[in-house]
Amino acid sequence: MLDIQSKKVDNAVIINIKGDVDLYSSPQIRKVLLELIQKESPAIFVDLQEVNYMDSSGVATLVEALQRAKKYGGRLFIYHLQGAVQDVFELSRLDKVFQIYPDETEAMKAYHDEN
């Protein structure tokens, strides 16, 4: 259903998601994110460039990951949001809760500036 690729860059993990994130597919992302959180991955980057649709179950999955990561001081960055996905975050009033960046370079820069 979704095509999820992940790669390690130093101590960060970049996840590329391709497809619609909805009630059908969000459990798939949840699994990937929770595994990383289990391992206390310090920085998780979620590339949403190829996600054209996200529903509230997708947003909920990211909220859950954000909150769990925070507990051990982990960071979650999301970037490259398409129009419809950006809109869901705004409609949910979560666009200020997340660290949303235009692209990978900007997200990486923000992470490195923090450290």
Partner: protein, 138 residues
């Protein structure tokens, strides 16, 4: 008399995307902007997800029926299920400043659509009526 389109899928998450494609194109065809069409599609999808999760308690072979009535100044969606009767008082969004996973679907539906009415007066199941007006043609 409105123009009417109808879509019926089994209450299985994998079929939701079929409805999304139909609703999005329909909205665009009748003159909603891309953003409006996306938002309406989101609202209908959230309503269908809620039917699966709450009315049918999970994926089911029972149907979700969507009827779209197109009027001169608005589109009306009737989303019908044949599951457990909803307790309308319980259908509400969480407080948005309380950040937690879930509890967003009803908020999204109410934010996007102009009118949202739950009708539980059916012998079996429920019907949600959602209306969106064409901008400037209220």
């Amino acid at each position: 008399m409105p123009e009417t389109l109808e879509f019926m899928i089994p209450a299985e998450p994998k079929y939701l995307k079929i409805n999304r494609l139909s609703i999005k194109l329909l909205c665009e065809l009748i003159g909603f902007s891309t953003v409006e069409s996306n938002n309406i599609t989101l609202a209908i999808d959230e309503a269908c997800s809620n039917v699966i999760r709450h009315a049918y308690n999970g994926p089911s072979k029972e149907p979700i029926h969507i009827k779209c009535n197109i009027y001169g100044n608005k589109i009306e969606f009737l989303i019908r299920d044949f599951g457990r009767k909803a307790n309308v008082d319980q259908i509400k969004s969480r407080e948005l400043d309380e950040i937690r996973p879930g509890g967003l679907g009803v908020h999204l539906i109410k934010t996007v659509m102009d009118e949202v009415m739950y009708d539980t007066n059916f012998e079996k199941g429920n019907q949600l009526k959602l209306i969106k007006h064409f901008k400037g043609r209220k």
